[in-house]
């Protein structure tokens, strides 16, 4: 049994940090975007008739926005900044 499996078995939920999160920390953006979309649309929509469709659209928009932001920052750090002259 590896260390992660042992740590998970010994894990005390809500008291101890969840083991094995660090390797895939960026995946937690998905439940966060879902939570933000569910709450924000419940506050803002006048009628809840097309609620889940609107939540899905907002989730997609936020996800695309975050991916675009990450790609832009990656371009800046890996392409643009190395081109700058070193004094």
């Amino acid at each position: 049994m590896n260390a992660l499996a042992i740590n998970t078995l010994a894990w005390i939920p809500f008291v101890q940090p969840l083991p094995g999160v660090i390797a895939w920390w960026w995946l937690w953006i998905l439940p966060m975007l879902a939570g933000v979309s569910v709450t924000w649309k419940a506050i803002r929509l006048t009628s809840l008739q097309s609620y889940w469709r609107d939540v899905a659209v907002m989730f997609g928009q936020l996800l695309i926005g975050m991916i675009a932001l990450a790609a832009g920052l990656m371009l800046l750090v890996r392409v643009v900044l190395p081109l700058l002259p070193v004094e």
């Binding site: 809500f14 940090p17 660090i22 439940p31 966060m32 939570g35 933000v36 709450t39 419940a42 506050i43």
Partner: protein
């Protein structure tokens, strides 16, 4: 001139109920489904944050500014902070370990303290839940939604 008077209602009790339990303000205004959805979103995000980061991600003394946002989620944030104090800081769970600070002083930290990305995720989830609940309780304070004629 045709004057349309828009009756603005203000309900402090709905705001207070929304702070005590997210979504309760909307339920008090008669909007059950909206209240349940807000409860699902805010409480779900807060619990997910504590599940990932542990109780240490809500810390009034060490992360005071984050706690301002987290406190928007209501008494659940205060209870998590108290649990952090009672369980981790007093060493009732985990093991207290010595930690050397940058100034050379030695302090004690709990082995269950969350660090790095795990703590960041937990703090962010709980703070987002608090901020969204502030928006929800401001919405509840406006009173029941008017149905379009």
């Amino acid at each position: 001139m045709n004057e349309e008077v828009d009756e603005q209602t203000f309900s402090l009790s709905a705001g207070l109920l929304g702070w005590i339990l997210p979504g309760l303000g909307q339920i008090k205004n008669g909007d059950f489904l909206r209240g349940k959805l807000i409860m699902l979103g805010v409480v779900g995000m807060f619990l997910m944050g504590v599940l990932v980061g542990g109780v240490d991600c809500v810390d009034r003394k060490e992360d005071g500014l984050w706690f301002v946002a987290q406190a928007g989620a209501g008494p659940i944030a205060c209870m998590t902070d108290i649990a952090n104090d009672m369980l981790l800081k007093q060493g009732r769970v985990g093991v207290m370990m010595p930690l050397a600070l940058a100034n050379g002083a030695i302090t004690q930290v709990n082995s269950f303290k969350s660090v790095g990305a795990v703590n960041d995720i937990g703090t962010l989830f709980t703070a987002m839940a608090g901020l969204l609940n502030i928006a929800a309780l401001l919405d509840a304070m406006r009173g029941p939604r008017k149905v379009a004629a």
